[in-house]
Symmetry: C2
Subunit: 362 residues, 2 copies
């Protein structure tokens, strides 16, 4: 079957070139006589893969040597516990901005290990905007300030230029759905984490970028595997890491580098998103759900005037080879997730379909 | 390059047929128009994959419905914490048999959350045997009894018929390196876990089989992601699971089923191991390191009389296309890991090489 345009929020579309490269060397990697999956994680060949991936990511995101780059497991959901267990050590408290379901999960988990202050929230409008992040709202006597940088479900984001700067308080960012999709100055953060299954490859590996000064002061109750220090000491080789997912992420890093890096990816993503947002802004029928200034480059939710029309459009889209456009149940309607690997042709084809639908349903 | 015989202790050799099938459908799975890696974990296609894999594993291991089968992350190392956090609830204590490095890690982690009684140990002889598991040595006022069922480093195992039966005390077994390699009666256990990277596929997914009566009574400090109940409720879909590793494990389960199931695998493994053990028992030069009655079917350590000979043999083996035969540093010499996917031809070829080496070094 032909490849289809897959608008899934994650796991999601991956670059065809990367899939093809992985396919080619799946049974036998280079001249190793074995698959990457069969390599000892202590072998020279695998060390080249994991340390090479780390080097490329450091280059792409301009990560200084004062930060550790870790390849872990468990997704953002496990980081919701690891962040407080490792960082909530002086004030036993952290500030959170509640911008949706993922922030709420992070708040709920952190509040089991300390005080989680919700200093701002957009829940009053079904998270269709990012609250004002004026520095006055934040506390300084907390162990960290926590932000979800891109909200997959609601389609909002906090770009680099809007990050608050709270003197003496490390910033923690969940970058799961926009890492390598838009540029951030990593030096503004104490800790950044991201599950791989949106912009980095396959589910099963979680990237953690953490300032070394925040490592090694975890709570006593922290399981060994949940201590950042365990993994920093062993360069992510304390136990067997998800070797194939790390290899695959390395291929994706190479792909981003070949395309010109994160700045170039962001430009492409802005062009892609503009195609859809421009259509939505001019449509009489389709409507974006997010306040303009806070629109995500990655996830674009939109609705039709009635549930019946939503259902009809989704049926047509699916029949035309556009997969996974159904919106999250809490927003309804549609959601187009257009991560790095979604080509602009996919977005244009979607907009064409929407245009036709509008003409026949005016 | 040709495929080589890979004797790695894990990640390790995988069935060529399975690698080829995965390769064929890597870019496009069936008529889905996308890779398995790109599928939403909430999609019907992926549900078929994960629930299908669960069904096959239940069939292969004859797992009753009173047990949950979970696909988690973090390897056995994370289970070393999850077992006590979830199970050490009435007596705040458990019994351990120390049969090597993995048992020691499990003991060390459990002792952070309760009392870890070491009721028997073979450390006095560098773990080259399994202590007598007479039921008298075990306590009954503990939350569980813990065994490492196969010891990758030292080459010992505890077969099904030697499992102790301690009335009222759940048995916990680390089956990481012999799951699906030899048959166990799962009803003898309360909890079994296994990292996938030896007999089940690629690193990054951990199989947990747990009696439902042991779920839901975790300690308050347990992170949500480390509670068995979290994953049981959502059938391993609480958050994004390692989708591709689960798919691949499902392919391996199918392969075992096609070969006749676990009983048949065990027979093949006994034949394979006998080829090497028979040679060792008759050799004047090579020597197995493990007491006969406790020899593993999966990992076979052996030594030559001097470090120089060990090094020379390893050099010859490597040049002849036998990879990863170097023994663990704590045992020295050689170790042949011959999991399910190692064909008997590989073991015979190794023995042939050893025979030639013996003739030229008498």
């Amino acid at each position: 079957m032909d490849r289809i345009y897959n608008f899934s929020a994650g796991p999601s579309m991956l670059p065809l070139e990367v899939l093809q490269k992985a396919q080619k060397e799946l049974v036998c990697y280079k001249d190793c006589g074995m698959s990457v999956m069969e390599m000892s994680h202590r072998s020279k060949d695998f060390e080249e893969i994991i340390f090479g991936a780390e080097d490329t990511l450091r280059e792409l995101m301009d990560i200084p040597s004062e930060y550790a780059v870790l390849f872990l497991q468990g997704g953002a959901s496990l980081q919701f516990a690891m962040a407080p267990l490792n960082l909530m050590r002086s004030y036993h408290a952290a500030d959170f901005v509640n911008t949706g379901q993922w922030s709420k999960k992070a708040i709920s988990e952190a509040s089991r290990y300390g005080v989680a202050n919700v200093v701002a929230s957009s829940e009053d409008a079904m998270f269709n905007y990012i609250p004002d992040l004026n520095e006055d709202i934040f506390n300084t006597e907390v162990d960290y300030t926590y932000l979800t940088l891109n909200n997959t479900i609601y389609g909002t984001h906090i770009p680099n230029e809007n990050l608050p700067n709270i003197p003496g308080v490390p910033l923690v960012g969940d970058m799961s759905s926009n890492i390598l999709g838009e540029a951030y100055d990593i030096k503004k953060f104490g800790l950044v984490f991201a599950g791989a299954q949106k912009n980095l490859g396959q589910a099963g590996v979680t990237i953690v970028i953490v300032h070394k000064s925040l490592i090694g002061n975890h709570m006593d109750i922290t399981p060994t595997m949940l201590q950042y220090s365990t993994h920093e000491k062993e360069r992510s080789l304390y136990n067997t890491p998800p070797t194939y997912a790390i290899y695959f992420a390395g291929l994706v890093f190479d792909w981003v580098k070949q395309l010109g890096g994160v700045g170039e990816m962001q430009k492409l993503n802005e062009e892609k998103a503009a195609v859809l947002y421009d259509f939505l802004d001019n449509s009489q029928l389709f409507k974006g759900t997010v306040v303009k200034k806070d629109r995500s480059l990655m996830n674009i939710p939109f609705v039709l005037p009635t549930d019946e029309l939503n259902a009809e459009f989704l049926k047509q889209a699916s029949a035309s080879g556009f997969a996974n456009l159904k919106g999250h149940r809490s927003v309804g309607g549609m959601r187009a997730s257009i991560y790095n690997a979604m080509p602009i042709e996919g977005v244009k084809a979607l907009v064409e379909l929407m245009g036709k639908f509008e003409i026949t349903h005016k």
